[in-house]
């Protein structure tokens, strides 16, 4: 039986970093991946493909908005392969980078599906050939997540898709119903709408992206509806069915019936432990369907660590990478500092949204009346030049109007712009830094200055009052 110091299950962002970190610590490492390619769902079915599609959707949207410069109409029958045209190159580059990294670090790559025999032993079944057993002192579970399948949504990957299969579409449907109001639902709904597909987004809550403040998500919904999309909030789906010919029929509890060519069910994702038989290792899923870990990313079993989507939120590739690295460090006793809690969230919708730190709601709950500074992108020179209508940057400050508690942004460039706020927070700068510093002009970074001035203005008003 082959033995390793560390076996990592899964080659997504968490698994990749976990295996490389363990190898760099001088250990013998194997990485197990059920797909033929490294990278997991992030690379092949989610993050990277959807962002590639988004880039073209943005181009299409911009060309439509600039009809005066060039008359543009998207061919009705455009193929998805055209819209994800650079995907193969991106994936190839990514795969080659990962393979090189794995080989360079002498990590043994195993193509197969893992199953726990005990806390130290796993069995790998392969697509061809019999199963093999391996032992390891430490095991890192980084098997990612899979889409949840609600009982009333018969996903067939032909008419009714989940977030892993939606990009197997070969052409743009005429209409698409998107179930859900989370990150994946919001991203795909706005991307397909920007491409001219008639999208109806349905969710039980009043607004999508409930972890962000309503004034930002309202702008997102406004932008989505401006493009022609329909948002049906506070609506519960009763049933979904394919009519056997050309339409998916979605019936809501309030009696509404929505017909569309295709449907995407984005009802969240759950830990991917199918076939892992974690019980044999002494592990169980928690009430949320994830693997529980402590602050060191250690599971209930001493030698087994877990990282990435399989342990639940934040389920961000960025956080997963760091968790993977830390899981290996902790397992091997390699010292690491405390993990920053300040992880930005990026939603690659059209428009983008991003946040770091506390929301206004969270800050108010914690500290009472907080001071908020806002800057609308249409008031910023760069925003005017770029024709951004639904952009806003919001700084959440403490009740004194000094400490930055959080930043939220909606609008193009949000996922990049957020890092300015993040760095200010990490360096414990107060809000004045945005006024005292000089940014390039014209850039959207100016929004920080405008929002900060608003905070400072309120601060002065408060001090004059007393």
């Amino acid at each position: 039986m082959k033995q390793f110091d560390v076996i990592v299950i899964g080659s997504g962002p968490a698994g990749q970093k976990a295996s490389v970190q363990a190898a760099k610590a001088g250990k013998t490492v194997a990485i197990v991946e059920r797909d033929q390619w490294l990278g997991g769902a992030c690379v092949h079915r989610g993050t990277i493909p959807s962002k590639t599609l988004r880039e073209n959707a943005l181009r299409v949207k911009k060309m439509r908005e600039n009809a005066a410069l060039c008359k543009f109409e998207l061919a009705e029958d455009i193929e998805m392969s055209t819209l994800i045209d650079r995907l193969n190159e991106v994936l190839k580059a990514h795969d080659s980078f990962m393979v090189n990294q794995i080989e360079r670090n002498d990590i043994v790559r195993i193509h197969g599906r893992a199953k726990f025999i005990s806390a130290n032993e796993i069995e790998i079944s392969r697509v061809k050939g019999g199963p093999e057993r391996y032992q390891a002192k430490n095991i890192v579970i980084a098997s990612g997540s899979i889409p949840k399948k609600p009982d009333n949504v018969p996903i067939d990957h032909e008419h009714i898709f989940d977030s892993d299969s939606i990009l197997t579409l070969l052409y743009l449907p005429k209409s698409l119903t998107v179930l859900g109001g989370g990150v994946i639902a919001s991203e795909y709904a706005s991307i397909f709408q920007a491409l001219g597909v008639k999208v109806t987004m349905i969710d039980r809550y009043a607004l999508p992206l409930g972890f962000m403040d309503a004034d930002l998500t309202e702008k997102f919904v406004h932008a989505f509806e401006e493009m022609g999309g329909t948002w049906l909030g506070e609506t519960v789906v009763k049933s979904v069915e394919w009519d056997g010919l050309s339409e998916v029929i979605t019936t809501c509890e309030d009696g509404q019936v929505i017909k569309s060519s295709k449907l995407l069910c984005a009802a969240g994702r759950g830990a991917n432990v199918n076939g892992l038989d974690i019980e044999s290792a002494g592990l169980h899923l928690n009430e949320f369907g994830n693997i529980s870990v402590d602050e060191l990313l250690k599971t209930a079993v001493d030698n087994i660590y877990a990282a990435g989507d399989v342990i639940g939120p934040p389920s961000l590739a960025s956080a997963s990478m760091e968790q993977g690295r830390r899981a290996s460090c902790n397992a091997l006793g390699v010292g690491v500092g405390p993990m920053s809690n300040m992880i930005p969230t990026g939603i690659y919708g059209i428009p983008e949204l991003s946040s770091v730190g506390l929301t206004e709601y969270q800050a108010s709950e914690k500290l009472g009346k907080v001071i908020i500074g806002r800057a609308n992108f249409e008031e910023i020179s760069r925003g005017q030049i770029n024709g951004i209508h639904d952009g806003m940057l919001k700084i959440i400050c403490d009740p004194k109007g000094e400490e930055i508690l959080g930043v939220q942004i909606v609008g193009e460039g949000a996922t990049e712009l957020i890092h300015i706020g993040q760095m200010a927070m990490l360096s414990h700068s107060n809000v004045d830094i945005f006024v005292e510093s000089i940014f390039n002009f014209p850039t959207l970074a100016e929004a920080y200055r405008v929002a900060a001035l608003s905070v400072i203005g309120q601060r002065h008003a408060l001090s004059n009052k007393y």
């Binding site: 033929q36 029958d77 079944s125 197997t168 010919l245 076939g275």
Partner: protein, 289 residues
């Protein structure tokens, strides 16, 4: 059999087939029964789109013609319709009915009395491949919708060749041994199929599948769809070959093949696939109009 074993008439037919392929002058046959049923449907006020789709899908040749016309410059300039559902959804039932009728009236009817049995086998296999293709694609999370058409048309070159052989030998007043005809069918079907789907203006994915399904490793860009059809064709062969209760055992042997490993299907995935054999057989039967 090898090339040198061909009889003089076999050689003559072979030369004719080479010329047809080179000049891309190949006409696909069509079953008249289905064509007349489309006409019947169009005159029935109670008929619905589901019946039309079922009828068209039941016939490899008619489905091909309908998709060719639906993909022509007149309706879809970029030739990207990949399924009848898409065509009906986008172009409407009336237009598709018209297209089906136009296709049936303007195309040479399929009559090859010497090869009736063989053509029926090819057709059954094509339908079975189409149905299996959808299930293989669904299980391996690849495009399901296109798999039906790709499977249905993957062997379109075979009946077309037999039609030509039938016509040529009839014109020459000579008979050809079945073994020779089958040899020529095997030898030319890809080239014929390639030309036919190209002439029909089928979407690139269909053209490349017909071209590469038997050697899917050759073209990375299309390997997935070609791979699905390759696997589905193997399952279809087993489905048609098996008698009574031996189907599951036969399919278990078939899924040991390399293509299923290349599709990254694990033992339990393959077990799920084999469990679908009853459903697939039922679908095949339903498509026999």
């Amino acid at each position: 059999m090898a090339d040198q074993d061909l009889s003089p008439i076999g050689r003559e037919v072979e030369a004719f087939l080479v010329k047809l392929v080179a000049e891309k002058k190949i006409d696909a046959p069509m079953l008249p029964e289905v064509a007349s049923q489309v006409l019947g449907l169009s005159n029935d006020p109670d008929s619905d789109a589901a019946q039309l789709a079922k009828l068209i899908q039941s016939d490899q040749s008619l489905a091909g013609h309908v998709m060719r016309i639906a993909n022509s410059a007149a309706y879809t300039p970029n030739a990207s319709m990949i399924s009848l559902q898409q065509a009906i959804a986008r172009l409407g039932m009336t237009l598709i009915t018209d297209i089906a009728i136009a296709a049936s009236l303007n195309t040479k009817l399929f009559k090859a009395p010497k090869f009736t049995k063989r053509i029926a086998e090819i057709w059954s296999h094509a339908v079975s491949t189409a149905v299996w293709g959808k299930e293989v694609a669904r299980l391996s999370q690849r495009n399901v919708e296109a798999s039906f058409l790709c499977g249905l048309l993957h062997s379109i070159g075979r009946p077309a060749i037999l039609q030509v052989i039938n016509d040529v030998t009839k014109d020459l007043g000579q008979a050809i041994e079945l073994e020779e005809a089958l040899y020529l069918e095997e030898h030319f079907h890809v080239a014929f199929g390639e030309v036919i789907v190209q002439q029909w203006g089928m979407p690139i994915i269909v053209q490349e599948t017909v071209q590469y399904y038997h050697q899917y490793q050759q073209d990375n860009s299309i390997s997935e769809q070609a791979m699905i059809v390759n696997g589905a064709a193997k399952l279809a062969s087993g489905t048609l070959l098996a008698q009574g209760t031996e189907l599951a055992g036969l399919l278990e042997d078939i899924v040991e093949g390399k293509v299923f490993a290349d599709l990254n299907l694990y033992e339990d995935d393959l077990a799920k696939l084999i469990q679908l054999s009853g459903q697939v057989k039922a679908s095949m039967e339903a498509m026999r109009v």
